[in-house]
């Protein structure tokens, strides 16, 4: 074991504190709206903090560090597209303002109001598949990380992950979004300390000159210039940037864990403000872990598995007395993401799939108590699935691209359907079905044949949005010709 008794005591105290604060809020959950969006009572600072906790997990550190480890300083460019997307949506209110004013709890809910219940069910299924496949690699990657940092033997890792996830499941299933926000507060203090400490300590411990030299020696100009050899042909060139900006705009609209934070805010003004300022915070969310991967080049060399670069760096540079605090900070990041993702993806399954089917069959909606029960059972189901999936799924190519592509299964369709549903009066149900279907085809190719098509990730990325747009236009035009909307018809 790499942890001392003091480290272990610190970690146990942190886990007990989070667990207790997460479970004691049960009395505030008076119905499904409290469970899913905390009664829409979240203020600006709390919203910002909670959003950061959701979107900074141990997995975030690992995939960004992998990029830095493989591509050097050039990979830092990856941190900029989310900044552009957040500031654009937050400052203009494009798409998000009308969504906030509709007071919906999940994105598929928009589809039933604007298109049809069938479209809601369809997008709910694709969203659940993409989201859970994305979520499904977290335990495997993080178990490996924990194994290296703590020295817990591999045979005990499954048990460790199950215990950790069960703790998260219990407090999330009991208190829903209220628990998530409360535990996020404690977790953010640790998480932000850990990020700042590793970054500053790493730079001083390793030395800026040594970091730059290591990148120059191992990667040459390619390690510094993201557009090497040219803006058009560079690994992080114009095609990649266009795709990433589109992807992030779409994620901020349709990624359930993010949009649920938006829907939990008190009003649309606070929602927009959270997004604008998140842009600044998201810059650091990318820059710091990518830098850790770059530091690893100087400390552990390049002859290792890229996903192990970050844990090996931490073990190498963090003094043993501080390892417990840093590990608790990493655990905080991990648990806050698990809690939010469990809540998010299970809400899609319970509200948009099971709820839609029940409504279609019985012609009436489930009552709030039944919805709560179904949400909690679904949450347990999602947890069991991700543990099972992570046991046998093997990663090929960049982890970052795998996570992007699982999201891309529904993200282009969601963005096009939501944007056109709000701003184009001629958008129709057939257009929505085609946009969702067309948008999922290209990313599916990447997920089925990652090795064969990985050189075309950027083209697949922005291409997904183009074909989704074509689907919307073609489908809507056809439906408008053969089944014109009746004047004054409400959708």
């Amino acid at each position: 074991m790499n942890l001392s008794i003091l480290d272990i005591i610190f970690i146990v105290v942190y886990l007990v504190l989070v667990f207790l604060s997460g479970t004691l809020v049960k009395k505030y959950v008076k119905g499904i709206d409290y469970f899913l969006v905390a009664g829409r009572s979240m203020g600006f600072h709390l919203g910002l903090l909670s959003l950061m906790c959701t979107e900074i997990g141990m997995i975030t550190y690992v995939y960004y560090a992998e990029l830095g480890f493989k591509a050097g300083f050039a990979a830092l460019i990856v941190a900029f597209p989310p900044v552009v997307a957040y500031i654009f949506l937050g400052s203009t209110g494009f798409i998000i303002k009308p969504l906030l004013e509709m007071k919906i709890s999940t994105i598929p809910e928009f589809f039933s109001r604007k298109y049809s219940k069938g479209v809601r069910l369809y997008i709910g299924i694709i969203m659940a598949v993409g989201g859970i496949l994305n979520f499904g690699v977290f335990p495997g990657v993080e178990a490996n990380f924990i194994n290296i940092v703590t020295g817990i033997p591999k045979e005990y890792l499954l048990v460790t992950m199950v215990v950790l996830l069960t703790l998260v499941l219990i407090y999330t299933a009991i208190g829903g979004m209220v628990s998530v926000i409360v535990t996020n507060y404690i977790q953010y203090i640790l998480l932000s300390f850990g990020m700042i400490f590793i970054t500053i300590y790493g730079i001083f411990h390793i030395g800026w000159g040594n970091i730059v030299n290591a990148v120059s020696t191992e990667l040459g100009d390619k390690g510094m210039d993201p557009f090497f050899p040219s803006l058009l042909d560079g690994e992080f060139g114009i095609g990649f940037l266009v795709w990433q900006v589109l992807l992030w705009v779409a994620l901020l609209v349709g990624w359930q864990a993010i949009s649920m934070r938006l829907f939990s805010s008190k009003n649309s003004k606070i929602g927009q403000k959270i997004y604008t300022w998140s842009g600044l915070m998201f810059l650091s969310r990318g820059i710091m872990p990518i830098l850790w991967g770059i530091m690893a080049i100087a400390v552990v060399g390049t002859d290792i598995d890229s996903l192990e670069a970050l844990p090996l760096l931490i073990v190498e540079i963090i003094p043993s007395g501080l390892l417990g605090v840093i590990f608790a900070a990493l655990l905080a990041a991990s648990m806050s993401t698990y809690a939010s993702y469990l809540l998010s993806w299970s809400s899609v399954v319970s509200q948009d799939i099971i709820g839609s089917v029940v409504t279609l069959v019985t012609k009436k909606e489930m009552d709030s108590k039944t919805q709560l029960l179904v949400s909690r059972i679904t949450m347990a189901g999602v947890m069991i699935f991700i543990i099972w999936w992570s046991l046998f799924h093997e990663m090929e190519g960049y982890l970052y691209f795998y996570l992007n592509m699982t999201g891309m299964l529904f993200i282009p369709g969601v963005l096009i359907c939501v944007a056109f549903g709000i701003y184009w009066k001629k958008a129709r149900t057939l257009g929505a079905y085609l946009a969702i279907t067309f948008g999922a085809i290209l990313p599916m190719l990447y997920l089925i044949w990652p090795t064969e098509v990985q050189d075309y990730a950027s083209e697949i990325g922005w291409g997904g949005f183009v074909v989704a747009l074509l689907g919307m236009v073609i489908g809507s035009v056809i439906q408008n010709i053969f089944q014109p909307r009746i004047e004054g018809e409400s959708v």
């Binding site: 505030y28 409290y34 905390a38 009664g39 009572s41 979240m42 203020g43 600006f44 600072h45 709390l46 910002l48 903090l49 950061m52 300083f73 830092l76 941190a79 209220v178 926000i181 409360v182 507060y185 953010y188 203090i189 932000s192 990020m195 700042i196 970054t199 500053i200 730079i203 800026w208 730059v212 510094m224 210039d225 300022w277 600044l280 915070m281 810059l283 650091s284 820059i287 710091m288 830098l291």
Partner: protein
């Protein structure tokens, strides 16, 4: 030192300072909002 090195150095410095400042601010002001949220949920 080439231009990219200066640029990335400045970006890293900016991200450390801005993240530290924003983190202190959201933790400090978030506590008051947390209390207010519970007051609202209690009503």
């Amino acid at each position: 030192m080439n231009l990219w090195e200066y640029f990335w150095g400045a970006v890293i410095l900016f991200s450390i300072i801005s993240f530290t400042y924003m983190s202190v601010k959201v933790v400090y002001k978030g506590m008051a909002e947390l209390k207010e949220m519970f007051r609202n949920l209690n009503e």
